[in-house]
Assembly symmetry: C2
Homo-oligomer: 332 residues x 2
């Protein structure tokens, strides 16, 4: 892939357009993840924050605020807040999932221990609240606190739905709305709120973030059965971890008795053998579950773009629309 092509990805164009603000966000993050007394905190945080995430969520906040003509300083704080919340949830997720790798690097719980991941995650949560308190906007505080509650609620729901073949598409949607879309939608919404926008604009920004996040997570779950090395996903992780995602829900709904027994053995009872992943992928294909999942991801991407309609036309708006296309480009 040529450098020119790479530079044309929407999230990279966004990063270019917002480069000055992103530099300020990164400086603020580094400043606030310091702890005079407990050096373990910046060690663990740096491992994750510096690991080359795309800063997608903070960019959404910066873009939303700029799109709304905000000219104050606080979108920087809010973007850093959003990244802190995201980093805290990653630290706690890796404890919960007992993960050994994230973004191709060993996880913090493996390098240090679960204790450090739990406590440093708590420190970042608290730090995120301190950052947003500085903005002095109570509506912003309400939105981001509610998003944090929705994230943990979604994760708990995922925990209790795991390995349960009766999980419905409705519950799946609630889980991914919590664990992924809630922070996307809060990130865009607070950009509009801090800029003092009217309700229609704020709602449009929230709906964009919500739909983008849902599309993003459905694609992620689809690639777990449909990915290639190029997508950077390990095909079969969710199957081995017995997670019930949209493709499996659709295939289970269409299963005959023999197929149902297969899903019960592999997902519910966790008795997996060589060749089971291939059988699973075969069943997803047979019932059109991968295609149907792909269609839903594209429909949510479309909804994200439609939500942008009420916003004033601008270069940033085009980039946000392109971002919605890019999310599903991995499965086109």
């Amino acid at each position: 892939m040529s450098l020119d092509h790479a530079a044309s990805k929407p999230h990279e164009r966004l990063a270019d357009a917002l480069s000055e603000e992103l530099t300020a966000v990164n400086a603020l993050i580094r400043e606030r993840m310091a702890s005079e007394h407990a050096p373990r905190i910046p060690e663990v945080t740096a491992h994750l924050v510096e690991a080359g995430g795309k800063r997608l969520r903070p960019m959404l906040t910066l873009a939303a605020a700029r799109l709304c003509g905000y000219d104050g300083p606080y979108h920087i704080h809010l973007a850093a807040t959003v990244e802190f919340i995201h980093t805290a949830t990653l630290l706690h997720d890796d404890v919960v999932d007992e993960s050994a790798q994230r973004r191709g690097r060993p996880t913090a719980n493996l390098l240090w221990d679960n204790k450090s991941s739990v406590l440093v995650g708590d420190y970042l949560f608290a730090g995120s609240f301190l950052l947003m308190v500085e903005c002095g906007n109570l509506e912003v505080l309400r939105i981001l606190s509610a998003a944090s509650a929705t994230i943990s609620e979604g994760e708990v729901l995922q925990l209790t739905a795991a390995r349960n073949l009766s999980t419905s598409e409705e519950i799946y949607l609630r889980v991914i709305r919590g664990k992924t879309a809630a922070l996307f939608s809060a990130a865009t919404e607070v950009g509009g709120v801090i800029a003092g926008q009217d309700e229609a604009t704020v709602t449009a920004l929230r709906d964009y973030g919500d739909a983008l996040g849902i599309s993003f997570q459905i694609v992620d779950d689809l690639l777990d059965y449909w990915g290639t090395d190029a997508t950077g996903k390990n095909v079969g992780d969710d199957f081995r971890e017995r997670k019930i995602t949209l493709p499996v829900i659709k295939a289970v709904a269409a299963a005959d008795d023999e197929e149902r027994a297969f899903w019960q053995r592999t997902i519910e009872r966790g008795k997996q053998e060589d060749g089971d992943l291939e059988t699973a992928i075969g069943l997803l294909g047979k019932h059109g579950a991968l295609e149907a999942t792909r269609s839903e991801a594209i429909a949510w991407s479309q909804r994200a773009k439609e939500a942008l309609a009420v916003l004033p036309d601008s270069e940033l708006k085009v980039m946000l629309a392109d971002l919605a296309d890019y999310v599903v480009a991995r499965i086109s």
Copy 2:
């Protein structure tokens, strides 16, 4: 112990004086720990919230607000906030300590799993912020967010100081100020802030909570070597878990070569044998470490009472002073 005697304990007199407000706090806690979609959340929370804690921290907030003549509704929200933060830290502590029991009952991480404890703790943290946002007071939000950050910072510091014989009394003080006193002082301080008190009063309330919390934790750490069944503490837990607390720091500072080797073997290397706890207690006695620790706890209790001086005289003020005495009564 007769019922009359029991009813005369200061925290019980406080509970009597604040009974109407405590009922409202308990109702609010039950309302907010509900989750429509993830029933695991109220299950785990109820296990801890209903387990008969003394509600000491919320009572501090209620007492401080009432003492300052506050007549609005929000001290109830703040008291519930403080209890939510406390409950969230207990859930995460039990994961970090790999505890099996708390208050004589199996811990949540044992009854459910570590995952549920981490995620439900996160939900309660987020819920605590939602509750305080409702109060609409930015200074209160700043104080409680900062307290949450200080709590996790103290816990991380404790983690890195654990099993390290070079831990100083200064680091010990910083750890307990974080893990225990920060929430006590924030609990009393926000009671004054919500009542719109001047800086001298707010500072007095904060200093009272800080000194009370420090005294409380030193007593707790002392009882781990000095307790009896009547105090409800298991003597020797900290020693077996190789935690460095004030009595040990003092004994290590006075140790000769042979004693130092004993502490290195038992605490640093964790090679403990039958009779080691008794040897440890003997060394603490020999160097006057228990007596010196006791004196420090009493001095902090004294400081807590002195901090109250600037506050207007009232029945509640007497109860808060008595509470400071009661904290050290367990070691008198």
